[in-house]
Each structure stands twice: as C-alpha cells, then as structure tokens.
C-alpha cells in the first residue's frame, strides 16, 4: 500500500507538474514568439482532475473534452510534441494544424475536444454507446466540461440518455465557479449541480481538488464501477482557475472575481499540496527534482520541434475535403459485382405521380 501510494503520488505529481509547466511555458512563450496564432484556454490551477484521471485510463478509453483541454490531452497519454506542434499550426500537429488549441484532438489516442460549450457530453454518450454496443471490451468514455456546460440544455439530454442506456461513461465536471467571466450566481438560482444529474438517475459525487491523492482514489473506485457496467457517474470537482479565461494574459483587471478569492485559491495550490503529499508518501526528493527537470525539458523540446516543423500546405486541404469513400464491406460488393453500384439507371417512368 505504501509503495503503491508512493508510486501513485509520484505519477500524480509528474502529471500535474507536466501540465502546469506546459501551461506556464506556453503562456510565457505566447507573445514573445507570436507563433501560436490561436485562442488558447489554459488550465493553471486545475491540474488535479486530469492528473487523477490519467491514473485510471486505458488506451481504449475515450475522452471528449471542452476547450480547456491541454491537461486531458496529456492525461490520455497523447504525445506532447503533437499537441504543441498543433498550437504552432504545424503539419506535425495532432490535427495537422487544422484545429489549434480549441478543437485539439488526437484520433489515435481517442482524445477529442471542441470549443462549443456542452458538446462533449453528447459525443461521449455516443462513444460510450459504441463501447457497450460492441460488447467484449471494457472501455469507458469520459466527458470533460466546465460548470458552464451545466447551463446548456443538451447536457441534461445527455445525462438522461446515459442513464437510460446504463452507459459506461464518466461525466467529469470541473466547477471553477465561473463561465468565462460570468459567476455562478448570474447563471442559476441553485448551484447544486450534482443534484441535477442525480435527478436523472446518474450516480454522483462532489469533491474538492485540494488533495489529488484522495481525488485519484475516489476516481479509481468510480471508474472501476463504470467499467463493470454499473452505469454512468457524474463527478463534480471543485477547482479554481489561476490564469485568465482565454489567452496568456490575466483578466483579473476586469473585476469579475474578488481579489481575495483569487489569492486564497492560489494560496491553496493543489500542485503545492501534491508536492507535500508526495513527500509525505515517501517519494524521494531526487525523484521529484528529476520530474521538475524532465517536465521543463519535455516542453522546451516540444517547442523546439514545433518551431522547426513545416507548415501544412494549402493544397493538402483538398485531399481531406474530398469525399471519403465507402465502407470496406461495400467496396467488396462492388468489386464482386460492379453492376450493383449503379452510376445511373435505365429511364424510369414513375407512376403514380
């Protein structure tokens, strides 16, 4: 137990630290370089949830995330280089430079995201449906979204469908108290988000992110239940965004959240807490230092690679856009009997009109 605890603590610290440093370095690089030409939503302060999730996931699991997605991309194990290249708009990006940060995806790693609030919930219902439909596998789908997504009607449809079909899906709601610059009280009279999900028959729980080890332990049980077919679960994680809503700049000059609130949140930084927990769990200082150094090196190396990589070419877009053809099963049929694939038909006199 002590050993697992230490291993988990190290893994959690490693992932949180990687996410934090990725964001910090990108923020620092954004303007001076002026080469990342896409809106980016950073997750500084919100690293605990993706890190805790990363310990639970398998390759055949699927993540459908909102746009504040960098942490979840990394949590799914997708390559940092391809992510940063994507931000630089390079051909080596995980989407070939077409998506940028807001619609970051890595198909091979079953990771997807998008800017439209509320979208991920329904899509994850679809991938969970496919996982269940196929039988055999024990893959699960994770929908990641902010508290703002709980304003959108589609989210309730998705919760209902998931419960109705008892799908293997984790709804992971990051409640950072704000939707962009709109505080919760301007968006609802009642803020008990898990009560809303529970009313549809979805199992629920609310947890703070101040102790990432506990968060990971809770997720471990939840995900195991989901894998075993006990149906969907909504986990609301109470968290806080240290950085601005979008872009590398702080937006605190817009006075949409109290200074004291921001300060208090930063003072109880989950990453700092994780560092303490790791030490307490017996992780050696050397290991922690190695993590710190390696995270920075990974990020810088990805940035160097991204800068050196070629841009995609305009002419390649046509290939992507061209119709994508037909399923193999049909292509076989066509080969077997080409006449079945009718380009046209004999003149037809239709009756009755």
């Amino acid at each position: 137990m002590g050993q697992t605890q230490a291993a988990d603590a190290l893994a959690l610290y490693r992932m949180m630290r990687l996410i934090r440093r990725t964001e910090e370095i990108l923020i620092a690089e954004y303007h001076p370089a002026n080469e990342m030409r896409c809106p980016m939503h950073f997750c500084v302060g919100q690293e605990a949830a993706p890190a805790a999730l990363s310990l639970q996931l398998r390759p055949d699991d699927v993540i459908m995330s909102h746009y504040r997605s960098h942490g979840y991309y990394l949590a799914k194990g997708a390559p940092l280089d391809a992510m940063i290249a994507e931000f630089y708009g390079k051909a080596t990006g995980s989407n070939g430079g077409l998506a940028g940060s807001m619609e970051l995806a890595h198909h091979g790693f079953h990771f997807y995201s998008g800017a439209i609030v509320g979208g991920p919930l329904g899509l994850a219902v679809g991938s969970a449906f496919a996982q269940r439909y196929r039988r055999g596998g024990s893959g699960i789908s994770v929908a990641v979204f902010g508290d703002g997504a709980m304003d959108e009607g589609v989210s309730y449809e998705a919760l209902n469908l998931a419960a109705l079909h008892r799908l293997p899906i984790l709804f992971l709601c990051e409640n950072n108290r704000y939707a962009a610059h709109t505080p919760a009280p301007a968006r609802a009279a009642s803020h008990d988000l898990i009560a809303r999900a529970a009313a549809f028959g979805v199992a629920v729980r609310r947890m703070p992110d101040k102790n990432p080890l506990e968060l990971a332990a809770a997720m471990n049980v939840i995900v195991a239940d989901i894998r075993e077919g006990r149906g969907p679960f909504l986990l609301e994680v109470e968290t806080y965004r240290f950085c601005g809503h979008v872009g590398p700049e702080s937006d605190d000059h817009l006075d949409y959240r109290p200074v004291a609130e921001v300060d208090a949140a930063k003072a109880s930084d989950p990453l700092a807490a994780m560092l303490r927990l790791a030490r307490a769990a017996g992780v050696a200082d050397a290991a922690l230092e190695e993590v710190d150094a390696s995270c920075d090196e990974q990020v810088w190396s990805a940035i160097r690679a991204a800068k050196a990589a070629p841009f995609p070419r305009f002419q390649d877009l046509r290939g992507i856009e061209a119709a994508n053809g037909y399923a193999p099963v049909v292509r076989e049929l066509i080969d077997a009997a080409p006449t079945r694939f009718l380009g046209g038909q004999a003149e037809t006199r239709l009756r009755p009109y």
Binding site: A99, G122, F129, A323
Partner: protein
C-alpha cells in the same frame, strides 16, 4: 452552345429479381439489408421500434435485429444526434430517423458545429459515417411546423452530404450508399412519395452519391428536378411532349455531391434551364443550381433560367390555401414553356 453530343442515358442493366415496392418499403428494405451486411449499422429514433414503424419505414426491423440495434428514444434530438456522432466516430454506422424534418432543427448545432467539421478538423484522421433520415411532411394541414424542408441549409455545410431521392428504387440504392458512405449524410424523404410504387431490385445495390440521372431525354429545355418534385417533373415533360416541347429531365438525386457535370452537359444541349426544388424559393437550393450553371455558361443561355419552388412562405393549414401552396406539374409546364418562348 453546342448541341453536338448525343444524349447519353446512363443505363446499367439490372441483374437479378425485382419486386414492386413503395417508397417507404424501399427505405425499409435498404435499412434491413444494410443491417444484414454490417453489424455496425443500427437504427434509432422516436417510434423506430413501434408497430407503425415511422410510416412503415422501420417496421419489422426490431423483430428482425433485436432491441440492441433498433430502438425507440426520448424526445431529445440534440443528444440523439450527438450519440450518432460519437458512435460514428467510434466506427459504428448509425441511422437516426426523424419523423419530420422540422424536429431535426434542434440538432443544428450538433450537425453544423461538430458533425460537418469533424473529419476535416481532425486533419483527416477521424471519420463520421452517420446517416440522418428526415421525412418532410406535406398536405392535410401539416402547417408551419411539420412541412419544412431546409435541405439547402445542410447542403451549405462543408463536410455534409445531402441526398434527396425521387423514386423507390433510388431511395433504396441511395440509402444503402448513404449508410455505407464514410461521410455524414442527410437523407431527405418526401412524405408525399411514400405511396409511390416501382420495381425495386431485391439484392442490395448502391447508387454512387453525386451522380444525377437523366430520366428523360429532351432537346428543348433542361429540367433539374429534385426529390419529391421528380414525379411532377416527369409528368410535366410528358404533357409538354404532346405539345412538341421536349424536356430533358435531370433527377439531381444528391444536392451534395452536386453532379454539375450532368447538369451542364444537358444545358449544353438545350440552352435552357428550369429547376424544380421542393423547398422555399429565396436563398434555397434552386439558386445554387442556377448560379452554378450561369457562372459557367453565362450569356450562352438562350433564355433566363427559372425556378419552380414552394412560394417563399410557411405552409398554410387551411385546405384551399394549402392546395394553392405547393407547385404542381402545371407550374413546371408553365415555367418550361416560358423558358422555351423566352428565346
């Protein structure tokens, strides 16, 4: 504009047995065979598993394939569409059915913001092989909320295919191709076509999306007919033949991909263009056909192109108003005549 090239009717011979089927039965048969061919195909929508089976179009499928692959749903168009999208991305081939086109408007976000861009946005890695069937109501006071056909909306979205069959045999072959296409497809069925019968080949067959069909040759005017106006177009052509006006009827079959080649070849022969489109006039699909042709042939047309569409208003419910609302073969006859006269 040259009239040199002879009319080429695509006339691939059909092998095997055929059975006289209604449009609805042909749609049903296409889904049944698609599900037989591929375990990944499933069909869902409000009433999909019921005895009535969405005007018969899904009747018997649940009994044949079980509730796992054919199921009823809550009234949740948005998330049902998202379910289809998420499942398609994972390699399934969902068929989502809407009893009325109007209902799918709840899912415009899912289609325009997610499904349309999905493959492109992924850099070409992901795919989205789903089919959305939408039935367009017509007549008996369907009124403003049960008779819309916004096919031009979805044809305007890059990445979406839009299919509009005009006969039972086409419905079957085009639906099979839609289901097995690797791109997302909106498949639009005119409710008024449901009773139409035709010989339909028994075997599964596939009509390649993006191939218009010259249903009748003619040298005087090209009539591009779409979906539920195909029968009226053929009727008009027959009437006009009696008056020695030869109409070439091009059944467009699919708005996207748009088979402009076939249309241009026909207009090249006739020099005149009428478009019959079962939707609203302004900013609709007929405008695209006309604009595409005019861009290419411009002043070479012998007469101004014409549109025969629904008037630019919602369908009124009152029976006499409704009777005057939908264009008929007589309206197409009038348009063709004026095109021919307007040399």
């Amino acid at each position: 504009m040259s009239k040199a090239s002879a009319v080429e009717l695509a006339s691939t011979p059909r092998a095997g047995r055929a059975t006289r089927l209604s449009f609805g039965a042909a749609v049903n048969a296409a889904q049944r065979q698609a599900m037989e061919l591929d375990e990944n195909v499933f069909v869902f929508g409000i009433g999909a598993d019921g005895k009535a089976g969405i005007f018969g179009s899904t009747a018997g499928l649940k009994e044949r394939f079980s509730a796992r692959r054919v199921f009823d749903t809550p009234i949740s168009e948005q998330s049902l569409t998202a379910l289809a999208a998420g499942a398609a991305n994972a390699g399934l081939r969902p068929v989502l059915v809407h009893q009325r086109f109007d209902f799918l408007l709840y899912s415009a976000d899912q289609i325009a913001n997610w499904i349309g861009p999905w493959r492109y946005i992924s850099g070409g890695h992901a795919t989205m092989p789903l089919t959305i069937r939408a039935i367009v109501g017509k007549g008996w006071g369907q009124g403003p909320q049960h008779s819309k056909s916004l096919h031009s909306w979805f044809a305007h979205l890059p990445g979406m295919q839009v299919v509009m069959p005009g006969s039972p045999a086409d419905a079957k072959g085009l639906l099979l191709s839609s289901i097995f296409s690797n791109d997302p497809t909106l498949f639009i069925e005119g409710r008024s076509l449901y009773a139409m019968e035709e010989e339909v080949p028994d075997e599964p067959y596939f009509i390649r999306l993006g191939r218009a069909l010259v249903r009748r040759p003619g040298k005087d005017v090209t009539l591009v007919a779409i979906g539920s106006l195909v029968p009226g177009g053929l009727e008009a052509a027959e009437q006009l033949a009696a008056e020695r006006i030869e109409v070439e009827v091009v059944d467009l079959r699919t708005l996207v991909p748009l088979d402009l080649e076939t249309v241009l070849a026909s207009v090249g022969r006739t020099g005149r263009l009428v478009v019959a489109d079962p939707g609203w006039r302004d900013f609709g699909a007929a405008a695209e056909v006309i604009a595409s042709v005019c861009e290419r042939v411009g002043p070479a047309l012998k007469a101004a192109p014409q549109r025969v569409t629904w008037p630019h208003r919602y369908a009124p419910t009152s029976a006499p108003l409704e009777a005057g609302y939908y264009p008929t073969s007589a309206d197409i006859v009038r348009a063709c005549k004026s095109a021919v006269a307007g040399i």
